[in-house]
Symmetry: C2
């Protein structure tokens, strides 16, 4: 018997929430971090290793997959789960963000977005209906509504207009979504850094009614301080009994700070992208393993980490692989980072259960709040 | 108690040999194929997966490792086994071949070779004594003598001169080698395509006395037919009770044909390099997975293969990953190829044990003897 898509709140500590999402392909303990599998692969990792990290759900990108290899082909081959060999839950974004950030030419109308592929210039059109259809063909456990993403900074008027269009597109997305047990659709709250707009957006989305609510339009260059200000109020506008997903976030301290403010789900390319640029996350902070000081360091990246790299290899070895541009450097550092992120989420969940998350977060922010993580410019 | 380095011949069928090499770090069943771990990594593979493939011994490159990260650093960190996390036997080449093929400027004298690093132009000098010292610092189970490698084609006189210098360097290499239980040193037979020179080289090497004998100077562009002609007589010049190692060979049919002629050990970058260029070896021949015909092929690369890629993924998925330039494409295709090579060696060993290798080889050469494998130009 397939279970209904559901969210259960198990514990709370102030605004922080410990919950459980049930999907067709499995259960997700929240707060949860979803590794990004853009092109049907979490870059430089086997899915079996993604699974070993403790990750229960991964993210796929509709924009990338519709262009290559195409949603039609993936459907023909049995869906995205089978195509990439991942049998756990998958969330797909709607393509809205990448259409804006990656495609070359675009014409936006109320109907949808016309754009040229960044791969070969071929023309494509995505509407809310088409995005939902694609996500259905992919077989996503969690479908995202198609929304209009704008650049930061934006004026109140620009933000309001895009937010209102996103609401209209959200209603069309919901209408186009084919209900199936275990499969859900999330709305996306917009409104930039404007509290009024965030509140209106939330109310209208709730009126349409979704299985979960994402917070979009953050982590687009506004910085952690402003993001936290928006998160000080936005989660309160969203229903308590549905999961809240902060899209595209973030570095470890972003996640801790967002959980503190009531967010349940996260995705970000930082751990994987950093893994390909020799940046490792550890319990002692970030380190760039390319740094010459690691050339003879026999210690593992993080002596409290149980990942393959930390169990088997030294910083000196990783430094060497990085200097030699070996693929194994990207493989090991990525896997370590994904393990680090999953361990962090495990620690966060345990801290909430044990009512010590507020102290955990304070301590974490003091240690790592100011940490600079090499910035990503484009999600690809 | 550490065992002596030894070779035991267990079965033979005509010239084909089934043997066992005992080293400090483990036992090698021959005929054996050694994956190449140039820069202390079998490219795009974790050592745990190399181990899973059934490979018992891997090869490291003295030239690369002396330049980066340096033999001194590897020794300080506990030797090459510990540095790269491989606890099985390791054979290191002497650097002779790469000094000739990769370094920028060189001055060759009876003393040794002066060259500039292909990485940063820094000057280095390698003599037989220095090569053996480096291999000792690396902790190689099987050390190779430092020899002079020449380009193909070469005249009789050029070949003779290099062969004679290699004998002299071989004697110095042997003298410099520090005997330890479980560790051996191999001589390298030279002489190009000249039977007389091969015979003289073999006799002089045997006079010096080594734990095994390599056949060098082949697979340098002469083609399979000429290589097999040389292999029709050269192994007969070498002692029956020592392992014979054909350096840098080769594609599957090269290996089968060489085993038929009495060779026991092989190394080659073909399976790993091919893995990074989308070329897969299978029981049905080679395939380039980039080929458009695989775009919707739901079958595994090879349905008789038990590697991770074949168990979990389709050709269509690998095709997609390759087109998308995903690191996972290189990872999966490389691992598959290494598994294929190890399975091939297992089949070869079983066929010799069961006295059906001659038929096996005939069948294999008929099926795959003409197969063109994308040529490697430089061993890097």
């Amino acid at each position: 018997m397939t279970k209904k898509f559901s969210f259960t709140l198990k514990n709370t500590e102030n605004k922080a929430r410990r919950g459980e999402v049930v999907t067709a392909h499995g259960v997700i303990q929240t707060p949860a971090f979803m590794p990004v599998g853009t092109a049907a692969t979490v870059k430089a990792m086997k899915v079996s290793d993604v699974k070993k990290s403790g990750a229960k759900i991964i993210l796929g990108n509709t924009y990338h997959l519709m262009l290559r290899p195409s949603a039609e082909l993936i459907e023909k081959l049995g869906g995205l789960h089978k195509f990439m060999g991942w049998n756990g839950p998958i969330l797909t974004d709607s393509g809205g963000f990448q259409v804006m950030s990656l495609s070359k030419i675009r014409k936006i109308s109320d109907e949808g977005v016309e754009f040229s592929s960044h791969l070969d210039g071929s023309k494509h059109f995505v509407s809310p209906e088409r995005s939902i259809e694609i996500q259905h063909m992919l077989g996503s456990d969690i479908t995202m509504i198609f929304d209009e993403c704008i650049q930061f900074p934006a004026t109140f008027e620009q933000t309001q207009k895009a937010m209102e269009r996103s609401i209209s597109w959200g209603a069309r997305s919901k209408a186009a979504f084919k209900e199936r047990d275990g499969y859900g659709i999330f709305g996306i709250n917009q409104g930039g850094t404007f509290k009024d707009l965030r509140e209106i957006s939330a109310a209208k989305l709730v009126e349409i009614g979704f299985d979960g609510y994402a917070i979009g339009g953050l982590a687009v260059g506004e910085g952690q301080k402003i993001m936290f200000e928006v998160l000080d109020y936005t989660p309160d506008f969203l229903p308590k009994n549905k999961p809240r997903y902060l899209m595209g976030v973030g570095k470890p301290s972003d996640i801790v700070g967002a959980v503190l403010r009531g967010v349940d789900m996260f995705d970000c390319v930082i751990p994987t992208r950093s893994g390909r640029t020799a940046q490792a996350f550890t319990r002692n902070g970030t380190m760039n393993i390319r740094n010459a000081k690691f050339h003879d360091d026999a210690k593992p990246l993080d002596d409290k980490c149980g990942c393959y790299a930390c169990v088997n290899h030294s910083r000196a070895y990783l430094h060497h692989l990085t200097k030699a541009n070996e693929i194994l450097a990207a493989m090991l550092t990525t896997e370590h980072n994904i393990f680090y992120y999953q361990d962090l989420m495990k620690d966060i969940r345990a801290a909430i259960e044990e009512k010590r998350f507020t102290a955990f977060a304070k301590d974490f922010m003091e240690k790592f709040g100011d940490e600079v993580v090499e910035e990503e410019v484009v999600v690809s």
